[in-house]
Amino acid sequence: MTVSAGDRLARLLNLVPYLLARPGIRLSEAASDLGVTEDQLRDDLELLWVCGLPGYGPGDLIDMSFDGDRVTVTYDAGIDRPLRLTPDEATALVVALRMLLETPGVSDRDTIERALAKIEQAAVVDSTPPIAVRLPGDEDRLATLRAAITRGRALRIGYYSAARDVTSDRVVDPMRLLSVSGRSYLEAWCRQAQGVRMFRVDRIDALVELDEPAAPPPGAVGADLSEGVFQPDPRSPLITLRVGRGSRWITEYYPCERVTRSGDEWLVAMRVHDMDWARRFVLGLGPDVSVVAPGELADVVRESARSALANYD
């Protein structure tokens, strides 16, 4: 990341009130708290040391006292408070708090609401950010899951797998609840799969809290969500569909490997977890979508339609 011209100035103007509020703080603690190295922090302090209003007397330069590796600001030269939040900063914090407040299953809404009100008041931007958030969800189910996580219990869940179109029972060790793009997920160690899995909360059809502790193995870590929840596995089979106008929405809904737009019909390549899922998917999309590759999938789809029609003879 490039350091913008104002970054250091902003940091310095913050540093004085930060230290003022924490007399005698260890340099190492302050540095890690502020996300800078200890050397950087010392350099910042040296620079501030000579700032103030020269000529007005000795009490007019910023002053600090050091006791071993502890520092105390003894004179702040008037920079006793941090600068107000900029509109961007206020927006970022207010939106995040509103998001949190709206997240289904979040605990302690009253606290978040009070924090939000205080930030909005302190931000004193001309108007609160014109941003609204609404994330509907199954509050009861989430409250149950949250309670189980807090108590540290394992769960037996009946989970519907859309990929395989089956509901199965499994025992999981819950790790955390997540809310991504308007959906809630339970991230847990699945004892059956012997791996960390994300379970969509709206597909947990049954739930029993077990009388044994949740014990994800020590190596189990949560997924990195920086690229979204679903990372198509490059080893999964690739299918290519010819998609008519009315079904182009699938390119917004499912991760696609490649979309080639040519006139009315689009060629869409996507990775699929499971070929039987692909069959159901294409069948459900109807005549607007046809399979280009693999050929077997095209055959299976047609065959499925024919045998389904036979039910109506």
């Binding site: 100035l9 700032c51 970022a92 179109d165």
Partner: protein, 330 residues
């Protein structure tokens, strides 16, 4: 920024915070180290003025409220000062649990858009005395993901400036240029929308941020429109995508042990030789039929006729699908 410039700017802030009177550029030059120059030398004076202009711009960019005025009516030259009450973040008295909520909230941006603004905002709150609990959670961790258009649109909505952008819905072949008075930005069911007055259509419209194909450009002056009174941003979006009432009931035969995806929505289950008979609620027969067709031969619609016909028609079309496509290179 050079060390000497940073130092000069800190000194400039201290100087202007300490004065109640407006200080002229000449007075500031005499006080703040780094501005020393011979005011009678035109070259030196000009260099000082340029330096001072740049420094003022730097402070304003940082959000420092630099006031301009004159110390008295006899002064002709403008002076500068910073009012402490406009500069300083007001005290925020937060309970530890409230502080924890703010810490959790600021972390939400770590994957997205306003991460830098959130962390510099948080740094200010901490400089103001806020203590964070790095391990705090609130049971559920939301992950914020925003589109690139989020920041320019929220800024334009805040400043009430017009915006223009390219927009394409999947059903259309080409992006079209839209002009909008943005009233606000909405996150509805995890997707972001901008709501506003569409200038060309002369009506309220919502646009999905992920469908914006160009950078969002703001144009015209600030405060150039007023959003409607009693504006409910959520309502504008929810109205079009709200839940549907499933008032009709269909009877469907589901093969034993199959189509779990259908069974989990079943209202009641009876058993027959060929499978289980389930009742399902639906709203629109066509979209309900589309969903059922996905399950192929595992489901058979028994009644009503409107759904049965839809399913059969669709299956016939798929079954008749030409096989000429097979083998075309992907």
């Amino acid at each position: 920024m050079s060390r000497s410039r940073t130092e000069r700017l800190v000194n400039l802030v201290i100087c202007l915070l300490s004065t109640r009177r407006y200080l002229t550029a000449a007075q500031i030059a005499a006080t703040v180290p780094g501005y020393e120059h011979d005011p009678d030398d035109p070259k030196e004076h000009e260099a000082f003025q340029r330096k001072f202009e740049r420094d003022k711009a730097e402070l304003r960019a940082l959000g420092v409220p630099l006031e301009t005025g004159t110390a008295s009516i006899f002064d002709t030259e403008p002076g500068y000062r910073i009012a402490h009450r406009d500069y300083a973040l007001p005290p925020i008295l937060l309970e530890p649990s409230e502080a924890a909520a703010i810490g959790v909230a600021a972390r939400l941006w770590r994957h997205a858009g306003m991460a830098a603004a959130a962390s510099s905002g948080l740094a200010k709150l901490r400089a103001g005395g806020l203590e964070l609990d790095p391990d705090a959670t609130l049971g559920v961790e939301p992950v914020i993901a925003v589109d690139a258009a989020f920041e320019p649109l929220t800024a334009a909505a805040r400043l009430r400036r017009h915006v223009t952008f390219g927009y394409r819905v999947p059903e259309e072949d080409n992006a079209r240029t839209r002009r909008l008075q943005p009233w606000g930005v909405v996150c509805w069911r995890g997707k972001w929308y901008v709501v506003g007055h569409d200038i060309d259509r002369d009506a309220a419209r919502c646009f999905r941020l992920s469908r914006i194909t160009t950078t969002v450009r703001a144009y015209g002056p600030e405060n150039s429109f007023t959003p409607p009174r009693d504006l409910d941003l959520i309502d504008h979006v929810a109205r079009r995508t709200g839940p549907v009432e499933r008032t009709s009931v269909a009877k469907v035969l589901v093969r034993h042990g199959r189509a779990a995806g259908v069974r989990r929505w079943a209202q009641s289950v009876g058993t027959a030789v060929e499978g289980d008979i389930v009742e399902l609620r639906y709203a629109c027969p066509e979209s309900f039929a589309r969903w059922l067709v996905g399950y192929g031969a595992d489901v058979t619609v028994l009644e009503p006729d409107e759904v049965r016909k839809c399913v059969i028609a669709r299956l016939e079309e798929v079954a008749a699908g030409s096989s000429s496509l097979v083998g075309v290179a992907a």
